[in-house]
């Protein structure tokens, strides 16, 4: 593995997506700011933080994988002295690092703010699940984009994950899901932990599948 070159490709992807990424960071900061300004504005802040995360989950794979393929830059990248495995590594690590960095900053700020409000601790487990949801859809989209290189299939994946967000409300019917919401301290029920475990499993599986399927691929342009 040519680490220096993989790193260079990652930095290149960050650099080429710097403007949209900065805008997402700004949206995250504004959302956190809203949390401090009263109850109604606080709810708007929560929602806008979630929207920023959803947007981020779509943005990075779209810019660095789908567009690169669509606009014919892939041949340029693949003509560099890299192997297909190094290409995959650069895409996964580059996307993951950019996403995780902004995701952790926004989620950290939002959950930190909630935790600092006395008596609001019960919201945190649900907050973690809500924060992991765009992470899951990001990994699914990234996997589909890298493996299929298809704009259409990426859009379909985006559509499916977006629709999936609306099933969020069904979770409230699960026993042990919403009971702790009003509690002053976080309550990690079995239901909550199972959901979080499932989310993490999907993330790991999507990334592992990406590497596996890429290693079997024979056409890169």
């Amino acid at each position: 593995m040519n680490r220096a070159l993989v790193m260079r490709l990652i930095v290149k992807d960050w650099y080429l997506s710097r403007v949209p990424l900065a805008l997402v960071a700004l949206a995250g900061a504004v959302s956190t700011g809203l949390l401090y300004s009263g109850e109604t504005a606080g709810l708007a802040g929560l929602i806008s933080a979630l929207i920023a995360l959803v947007f981020l989950s779509i943005l990075i794979p779209q810019l660095t994988v789908v567009n690169e393929r669509k606009q014919g830059n892939l041949a340029f990248v693949m003509s560099l002295p890299i192997s297909p495995a190094e290409y995959t590594m650069s895409k996964v690590l580059g996307n993951l690092s950019a996403f995780v960095l902004l995701w952790a900053a926004i989620v950290g700020a939002v959950l930190g703010t909630i935790a600092s409000v006395p008596g609001a601790g019960g919201v945190i487990p649900l907050g973690v699940i809500a924060a992991l949801a765009p992470f899951v859809s990001f990994c699914l989209l990234l996997a589909v984009a890298i493996v299929t290189e298809s704009e259409l299939l990426s859009m379909v994946t985006m559509g499916i994950t977006n629709v999936a967000y609306s099933f969020w409300w069904f979770l409230f019917r699960l026993p042990g899901f919403a009971e702790g919401l009003k509690s002053p301290v976080p309550i990690w029920s079995d239901t909550i932990l199972t959901i979080i475990g499932g989310q993490i499993a999907v993330i790991v599986l999507a990334l592992a599948l990406t590497f596996y399927l890429q290693s079997r691929k024979t056409d890169f342009v």
Binding site: N2, L5, R8, K12, L16, Q71, G72, N73, A75, F76, M78, S79, L80, P81, I82, S83, P84, E86, T218, D219, F220, V221
Partner: protein
């Protein structure tokens, strides 16, 4: 040191509506190979295979001594690649691309890059989106050439260029060959460019190599012989003649194995030879494709 920069043996690749079969292609070190074929003949697929971008289903591919696609990272260190469907990053400047490529390849020659900027009439600070198609092609070639790679693989490098730009590109490619350790493989529909600068020529059609030899023997072996028949008779079949067009007492015979004995044989048969004409590479190519599609052994 291998005597071939590129060596494909029995290479094949199957797609739903197209297959590449038994491709044999050898580019000797220190030479330019012109790769000619109609649209959809398999030129780009072959080039992608030897870049490792597409993996062959069968056959062996060696580039600069490295087995492909397995050792592609090592091989590509010494390959300069440019193709018609390759695009640079639109939102970035040529300067950014130059710095990026320079950071990847230690062989980057900045003063040569400067010279190329002038010769290709390109501006460093210009963004790729603001460039015309021709300028983008030249920018891609600049990035490939300025690294002084041992092997240049160029898919349609002169397509879409104006005559001045084409001339500059041709000039740079022939300048590369002053170093006899360097080699070039380039594909084109423009047989004129290929005729001018290639040492070796390969014709491909419908996924198969239909002819391959050095350029001088190509041009030497193909001739048109204009004859006048003594009366109402057919032109006799002679070995090496692949086609005859006869109207009345005049006929034009095409050969791909010319020898002075051919016109003599006609004369001996009482047929007067009016002229023996050279053919351009384009005429040779078109005739070759025509006869190979008709099933004539060319």
């Amino acid at each position: 040191m291998n005597e071939f920069a590129v060596q494909l043996t029995g290479v094949g690749k199957d797609y739903r509506f197209f297959s590449l079969n038994d491709v044999r292609l050898e580019v000797p070190v220190g030479q330019i190979m012109g790769f000619i074929g109609p649209n959809g003949a398999g030129k780009s697929t072959t080039i992608r295979i030897l870049m490792g971008l597409v993996h062959q289903d069968r056959g062996e591919v060696r580039v600069l001594g490295h087995s492909m696609p397995k050792k592609q990272a090592a091989a590509k260190r010494d390959i300069g690649f440019a193709s018609e469907d390759m695009r640079l990053y639109g939102s970035s400047t040529l300067d950014w691309h130059m710095r990026f490529v320079r950071s990847v390849y230690p062989s980057w020659d900045e003063s040569y890059a400067q010279t190329l900027l002038k010769r290709f009439d390109l501006r460093r600070e210009q963004r790729i989106t603001g460039m015309s198609h021709g300028q983008q092609v030249k920018a891609g070639l600049l990035l490939a050439l300025a690294r002084r790679p041992r092997l240049l693989i160029l898919d349609e490098p002169t397509t879409g260029l104006d005559p001045v730009a084409r001339h500059e590109v041709i000039r740079e490619l022939t300048a590369v060959m002053q170093d006899d350790h360097r080699s070039i493989l380039f594909s084109s529909h423009n047989t004129h460019d290929i005729e001018q600068i290639s040492d070796q020529i390969t014709f491909i059609d419908r996924g198969r190599i239909i002819d391959c030899r050095d350029k001088e023997s190509f041009l030497d072996r193909w001739r048109r012989i204009r004859v006048e028949l003594p009366g109402d008779v057919d032109v006799p079949a002679l070995p090496g003649i692949i086609g005859v067009l006869q109207t009345g007492r005049l006929a034009v015979a095409t050969t791909n194995a010319f020898d002075v004995s051919l016109p003599r044989a006609y004369e001996a048969a009482g047929i007067r030879v009016h002229a023996v004409e050279n053919m351009t590479l384009e005429e040779i190519f078109v005739t070759n494709v025509h006869y190979s599609r008709e099933g004539v052994a060319v």
